[in-house]
Each structure stands twice: as structure tokens, then as C-alpha cells.
């Protein structure tokens, strides 16, 4: 606990700044940062710790988003009630994709995730029940508190923060447990891990399912806040890529890496979008691409790894 004394003032800042900032613009960015941190931290479970790079995590995100808005559109329930549905769908997808590919070398899994993501996006764009290309919308005006439709980003910020805290505590606990070590062993060398009795397939699947669950929750939260979901904004490859780059920039396989990545990248994204106007989105991804190249070329461990290297300390759990 001694090492973490610096955490307390930081936590205070994190809790208080939106109230001080006052402007809804900044608060909204804050909420988006936390949301990105949730998705990236979820991805981190399978992609960072276990080293199984999923480039199609958007399917879980989209599942969560659509599930939330679908229960509202078709059943009239508050969107948040769709969370379990999103999770269920995501778990099924995780098992379907993971079971055949986890037996094979890592690349197969990655390619399968891309293909699956694209396939599902195409199917969703043509499935009328979930709005085809137009997508689904959430409640325009709140009917009850459960609808979680707020005018101000502030409540979203704190709700998301709560979920993030939950996810990070779970991850921290996992890190110190057998599962954490087994996942890192899988990342470090499957053949060796097997020879030590690690049930590789089982743990990979479990990590993927856990990751899918939280990504789905993130998707649902997104849908609740934004009130809208369509194939491009929730199932597109850029959603998947964003998760990866946010996690990788801060440090994949570390506890706080994704959060750091989110804090740096999301404001950057908003700024480039604003600064470059119409062609804004294009430039943002050029920047993303450049960042990814730099990270992979010079410091695959991300910023946290770079920091510990500078300080001369080897990475220890």
C-alpha cells in the first residue's frame, strides 16, 4: 500500500474536476475518456495480458450498444436493461470465435476477429430489426430515472467512473492471482506454458469472455449516453482499432496503461476533429496510424514501459 500514496490525491482530482470545470464540453470529453478507458481496459484482458490480439472487439461493443437500444425500441424498457442481453450475445460470439481459433497460432485468432467483425457489420447494416443502416435510437426525453437520459454529461461521467473502477479492481485482483500469471505465461510462450500444466485453451477462452462482457457493457453505456447506434459508429473497424491503440499507447498488459492511453488520445482525437474540420476524421486516423507505428517500432510496451525503463526498474508484478 505504501507505493500507492500518490494515488489518493489523483483519485481526488479525478472525482472533483468535472464539478470545477463547469463547462459541459469538457465534462463530455471526460465521460468519453472514461468510456474509452473501459473498452480499452476490457480489451486489455485478452489482448494485453494474454497477448491474443483481437482486432474485431467492436462486435462486443456493438452487441452491447444495440442490445440496449433494441430493448428500448422493441420492448419499451429502459436501455440499461439491455446490458444482460448484450453480455449474453457477446459471450456467445466470444465462444464461437475463440473455440476454433484458440487452438491455432495467434494470427488466426486476430484474422478471425477482423473477418467476424466485418461480417457482422455487413449483416447488421442489412437487418431491419435493428434498424439496418440507419440504426437505433434511444429515448429522446427521460421517462423515468432508469432511462438514464441526462442533459448534462456529468452523471454519465460518474456512472462510467464507477464501472471503470469496478473493472480495474477486478483486473488488479486477477493480475495477482493464478489467472493473471497463467495469462501472462500464455503470452510469454504457449508451448512452455502447456508443459507447466497451464490449460491454455480454457484460460484464453475465459479471458476472452471476460473481456467481451465488459466491452459489451461499455457499448451499452455508450448507447445510453449518446442515444444512438448504427453499424458504422459501433461495429466499424475503427472502434476496434481505437481500443487497441488506447491500450497499447499507455501499455498493453498493464493495469493503468489503457487509462493513460485514453487520457492522452481522446482529447487529442477531439482536438484534431475540431481543428481539421471536414476532413478531420481522416487526419485523426493518419495520426493514429503514425502513433501505432511509432509505438510498435520503438516501444511496444507502451508509455508505462518506457517510463519504467527510464527509471531503470524492470517490470515486476
Amino acid at each position: 500500500m505504501k507505493r500507492l500514496w500518490w494515488l489518493l490525491p489523483l483519485v481526488l482530482v479525478v472525482l472533483v474536476w468535472p464539478l470545477l470545470a463547469g463547462d459541459a464540453f469538457y465534462q463530455r470529453i471526460g465521460a468519453l475518456v472514461v468510456l474509452a478507458a473501459i473498452s480499452a481496459s476490457a480489451w486489455n484482458l485478452i489482448g494485453g495480458y494474454a497477448g491474443q490480439v483481437s482486432v474485431g472487439h467492436a462486435i462486443f461493443f456493438g452487441a452491447g450498444a444495440y442490445a440496449a437500444l433494441a430493448v428500448y425500441t422493441h420492448l419499451g424498457w429502459p436501455p440499461i436493461a439491455g446490458v444482460p442481453l448484450g453480455i449474453a450475445v457477446s459471450l456467445i460470439l466470444a465462444v464461437l470465435i475463440g473455440t476454433p481459433t484458440f487452438r491455432l497460432r495467434g494470427h488466426y485468432f486476430s484474422m478471425a476477429t477482423i473477418a467476424a467483425a466485418e461480417l457482422i457489420r455487413l449483416l447488421a447494416a442489412n437487418w431491419a430489426w435493428i434498424g439496418a443502416a440507419i440504426g437505433l435510437m434511444g429515448p429522446a426525453a427521460p421517462r423515468t430515472l432508469a432511462d438514464l437520459t441526462f442533459r448534462s454529461p456529468l452523471p454519465y461521467y460518474y456512472i462510467f467512473l464507477g464501472v471503470l473502477a469496478l473493472l480495474l479492481s477486478l483486473t488488479a485482483a486477477m493480475e495477482r492471482s493464478r489467472m493473471g500469471y497463467y495469462l501472462r505465461a500464455i503470452n510469454g510462450g504457449e508451448r512452455a506454458a502447456r508443459s507447466l500444466g497451464v490449460p491454455v485453451l480454457r484460460y484464453k477462452l475465459f479471458a476472452l469472455m471476460l473481456s467481451a462482457t465488459f466491452t459489451s457493457v461499455a457499448g451499452s453505456l455508450y448507447a445510453v449516453m449518446v442515444g444512438f447506434a448504427d453499424p458504422d459508429s459501433t461495429l466499424g473497424i475503427l472502434i476496434s482499432v481505437k481500443m487497441i491503440i488506447v491500450a497499447a499507447l499507455g501499455g498493453a498488459g498493464t493495469l493503468f496503461g489503457p487509462l493513460i492511453g485514453a487520457v492522452l488520445l481522446i482529447p487529442l482525437e477531439e482536438w484534431t476533429n475540431a481543428a481539421f474540420g471536414g476532413s478531420g476524421t481522416g487526419v485523426t486516423y493518419v495520426v493514429y496510424g503514425a502513433i501505432i507505428l511509432l509505438i510498435t517500432r520503438f516501444e511496444p510496451g507502451g508509455l508505462l514501459h518506457l517510463a519504467s525503463r527510464i527509471r531503470g526498474r524492470p517490470r515486476a508484478a
Binding site: 489482448g47 490480439v53 477482423i114 473477418a115 455487413l122 493518419v286 493514429y288 503514425a290 511496444p300
Partner: protein, 273 residues
Amino acid sequence: MGAIYALFSSGLTLIWGMMNVINFAHGDFVMLAMYVAFFAWTLGHQGPLVSIPLAAALLALLGVVVYLGLIRSVMRGPMLAQILATFGLALLLRYAAFWAFSANFVALPDNLVGGTLQLAGLRLQEPRVLAGVVALALTLGLHLMLTRTMLGARMLAVAEDRAAAMLVGIRPDPMQALTWGLGAASTGIAGGLIALFYYISPTVGESLTLIGFVVVALGGFGSVPGALLAGLLIGVVESLSAYWFGPVYQDAVVYALFLLVLWVRPQGLLGTV
């Protein structure tokens, strides 16, 4: 069209088989080549006879540069870095293209290479036929080169066992750079060929990359003849599904096929896992 898939996919399978690196930017290489062909025409009034070799050369150069600058240092690292590296490259190329060329489609004039042929009751467009034939020939040529020449043998040796090849005196580095160069060149040629009859836009890279993966997976990683066979097969499947299900689903069928292949026979038709 299948033959063209085969062509650039054989480049992909070469890189994959050689060095265990999957080039996520492969489709975007093709996209760049298409733009080269486009600009060769609009700026220099050069037809395919010039633009295709030009594209091949430029892309080959790009391939070697990418290898030297990026891939080499990433190859020994964690899997995440490997996958991300070419992915980041793909992003960079794709959106730089968006930025530079805007999202609008452009196209080369239709009649650059002949018109339509009437062949045994089917209407075929000459550019497609020509492209297909060239692609087929080049893919076969690549296969022959790999299996019959000394250089090819060296490349295959490095692919199979890097350490052993080093012991025999083959330097792996130039071989791997060459692999990337060749692989990229194949995209250059493919791109130049496709540009003859397909629309050109920065978005093309994404689906082409995925199609490349499907072809390579189906044909077997590392197997050029496998890529050829699979490429032709996929081309046919695509056309048929466009006909049966409508063009919207044609990509979806290909992706579904990919997942099916992974489920059922991951080593593809002619490869080894």
C-alpha cells in the same frame, strides 16, 4: 478477377509463409498501386504498359523500405507489436490517401484496353480478361521462380528454417527484404491491373486485405500454388454470390467462408499449419 486475387495474395502468402508476419496493409498497397496507375494516366498519359511496371517498382521499393524500417525490428518482438505494426501502416496509408485524394471514387477510362469480347455466349470485358491472364501468368511465374531458381531456393530455405539457412551461408536479411519487395511488387502489378476496370478509392484497401487473408487461408499459408487455386475459387464464389444474393452480400459471403475455413480446415487446401 480471381486470378488477380491470386496474384496479390501470393505476395501475401509469401510474406506470411516466409516470416510469420501477416501484412495487414497488403490491400492498401494494392490501393496505392491503383492510384499510381491512375496518376500515370492522368498526369503522364501513360497507359498500363508503363504504369504497371512503374507501380510494381514503386511498391517493391515501398515493401523493402517497410521491411527495413519497421518489420525487421518488430519481428522478434511480442505478437501485439507485429500485428499492430502492419495494421498501423494500413491505417496510415489508408487515411493519408483519404486526405490526399479525398474519398471520391475515380476511375480510369473504360476503353483504355480494348472493349468487350464475345466468347462462347458470355460477354467478357477485355480489360478483365487481359488482367486475369497477366495475373495468372505472373503468379505461375512467381511459383516457378521460387521452386526452380537458386534465388527462390534460398528464399524458401530462409522461410523454412532461418537458423539453418544462416549456417549454410545464406544471409536471411536480404532474403527477407527481397520477400517483402516481391510481395509488394505483386500488389503493384495487381493494383495496376485492377485499376483498368475497377473504381479507385482509398476504401478499397480494407476489403482487399481481407480477401487476401481469405485466399491465403483457403490456399494454405506459404503456398503460392495454393493461393492461385484459392484466388480463382474465391473469385468465382464472389461472382456467384453477387449473382445469387446481390452485390451487398458478396463480401459477407467471402468473410463467412473465411470463418468456415478457419473452423474446418485451418491449413487450407495446400498448406501446412
